[in-house]
Amino acid sequence: MSWAWVEVKPNENDLMHPGHLACQGCGATIAARLALKVFGKNAVFVIPASCWSVIDGAWPQHALQIPVFHTAFETAAIAATGIRAALDMKGRHDVHVVAWAGDGGTFDIGLQALSGAAERNENIIYITYDNEAYMNTGIQRSSSTPLGAWTTTTPDERPEDRPKKNMMEILAAHRVPYAATASIAYPDDFIRKLKKATQIKGFRFIHVFSPCPPGWKMASNLSVRVARMAVETKVFPLYEIEDGEVYTITHWPRGLPVEEYFKLQGRFKPVLKDPERLAYVQRYIETQWERLVRLHEASHGYLPEEARATIRSAI
């Protein structure tokens, strides 16, 4: 057996250095790298318990070239709030305080503190990298786990039977100035949203879809493709909500059948084998999408041409 050593030199322009501890193909790392390109050095990441508490590295090393503040699982939003308060008192208005949390830390255990911070319109950027389960503890369901998915607590014999919680609607209900979904497969869209977020004051929320090869039972070279398919099948639409009122779909998907997305991943094996269930999931996706399209139309007064093709029946 022979070893091949590759010396990896950090890219000068990258604030995320090699040597982090994520799995190959980890969507959450791609998301962070992209985000840091926008934030630059004047940001602090607040990281609650999650894969990311490991990814950045074990003490005394860490991969990010910005300050990182680790905090308890349910406290990302409030720790970021505390840091913001201190930095404001010190006159450091030039820096971004970014909560960087998993779906579990956002949709579930951290929802209370998140709601508090959102409702008070704290001047922080909250980013949830969504891998649709508790990955750090070994792939257990979260309220972000989608309909039909396998996890270790929703085994093949009893796959997830509830739809993914709609976090964006929850944030919209808080009337926060900015909330957006994003995907690592659409870096331009993600970066545009990040930039927009940095130019707004108050509570900003970005929900970034971040595939997890081990958790989704897929090869590590598929992360970007799977993320793209999630968007193109309307499973994970890209849109933004301003002031909780104005909905804008930022990418009009091709509207591929959900199977195209499911079949790339082992976690949907049970649904794929169950035509009735698959049809149910497809129907659910359509209804959600149509609802979103209506909100977009209501916000803008018209629909672009490409919207028509994505809807089953005329609205």
């Binding site: 590295g57 074990a58 990010l64 990182v68 970021a80 840091i83 820096v95």
Partner: protein, 390 residues
């Protein structure tokens, strides 16, 4: 005119004494959540920050868990930070109390001692704070409203020298909602005593570190060792700072307070405002010729083992009166006192009394009863109930 002569004399409830202590300490970030009997602390601080009397951000959070999380974070982002709570609120914070210590966040928290539910009970009992014994917080108990104000200021000084979170504890209602004369010191003098807050490991954009990063077994234990060393250091720092405080403000505190102990054969040990009742009872007993005194424990963590040994060694008998209980064992000051005395020379028998749970009155006569009961008894017991109907 000396600065101290510019003090204002007023009458304050314990909770307002806290608020004035916080103001004099020039706290920069405050976060708290309402709970009786703490609420009036946050209300007063909300007022002070709203009017600009105190230049601080007040974060009106949605829970105590968030209150403590906010101030841990703000403390490590370089701002002097404060929270206050009681009972259920403190219990809810538990996870973050460990966090504060591990993160070396020198936040100061006031806990107003209140009994835990069920049954719902808002009156005083020490079990809430004592149950947080092993979280690594310094804990300082108080007997009067002046002491509450003084200790709030002292707490920041001590916490920020050893980078450990510090809990200032006062009794529900008996202190929190009872008015007493209080001296409010001039700001300049407090500024001389308490310099602006700095943390060497605070978030720094020019030196981007990971704060609270995970540590494998090859590093974790050293962090814990350092915390223990900081606690040992805190004992020395407590002595130094209370000395300095006495010089500057004219009030002397110590880890334990000794009352009528010079020639005492018998000692009553307790903490908090019940000490005032005990002193009153002891003064009466002294008139009857009884050789009895009081040792009031002020500093609970770090536990002042040497001082406790110095005071209690060679006495005939000791009674510890606990307004708290560790179910399945005994009162908590009792077990701590006993543990400290194990291995001391001339160790007296120590009797454990549990009284006043859930705010049941402890009157001077109860103290006298306890004293007489102890004198009569041959063998010490872990729990001798006082004032319970069985």
């Amino acid at each position: 005119m000396k600065l101290i002569e510019k003090s204002q004399y007023t009458v304050l409830k314990g909770n307002y004494a806290v608020a004035y202590g916080v103001k004099l300490a020039r706290v920069e970030v405050i976060s708290a959540y309402p709970i009786t009997p703490q609420t009036t602390i946050s209300e007063k601080l909300a007022d002070m920050t709203a009017t600009g009397e105190l230049k601080a951000r007040f974060i009106t959070v949605e829970s105590e868990h968030s209150a403590i999380s906010a101030v841990i974070a703000s403390s490590l982002a370089g701002a002097r930070s404060f929270t206050a709570t009681a009972s259920q609120g403190l219990a809810l914070m538990h996870e973050m109390l460990h966090w504060a210590t591990g993160a070396r966040a020198p936040v100061v928290m006031v806990n107003v001692n209140r009994a835990l539910a069920p049954s719902w009970n808002i009156w005083t009992e020490q079990t809430d704070s004592l149950a947080q014994r092993d979280t690594g917080w310094l804990q300082i108990y108080n007997e009067s409203n002046q002491e509450v104000l003084d200790t709030t200021i002292l707490a920041f000084k001590i916490a920020e020298r050893v980078y450990l979170p510090t809990m200032v504890v006062l009794d529900a209602f008996i202190l929190s909602h009872t008015s007493e004369p209080v001296e409010i010191y001039p700001q300049e003098l407090v500024d001389e005593f308490l310099p602006p807050y700095e943390h060497p490991n605070a978030i720094n954009f020019d030196d981007p570190r990971a704060i609270g990063a995970f540590a494998r077994p090859d590093y974790y234990m050293e962090f814990r060792y350092n915390i223990q060393k900081a606690h040992e250091e805190a004992l020395r720092v407590f002595k130094e700072e209370t000395e300095l405080f006495a010089e500057m403000f004219g009030r002397k505190y110590d880890t334990v307070e000794e009352f009528m102990l010079d020639d005492a054969d018998y000692v009553l040990v307790l903490a908090g405002s019940t000490a005032t009742t005990a002193k009153y009872a002891v003064a009466q007993l002294r008139e009857r010729g009884e050789k009895v005194g009081v040792m009031r424990i002020k500093l609970f963590r770090p536990f002042p083992v040497e001082d406790v040994r110095r005071v209690l060694s060679g006495r005939k008998k000791v009674a510890v009166i606990d307004r708290n209980l560790s179910f399945g064992h005994s009162g908590i000051f009792y077990m701590e006192t006993k543990a400290a005395m194990y291995g001391a020379k001339d160790r007296p028998p120590i009797f454990g009394y549990v009284a006043g749970l859930g705010g049941r009155d402890i009157r001077p006569q109860d103290i006298i009863d306890i004293y007489e009961d102890m004198k009569r008894r041959e063998e010490p017991e872990n729990i001798i109930w006082k004032g319970v109907r069985v």
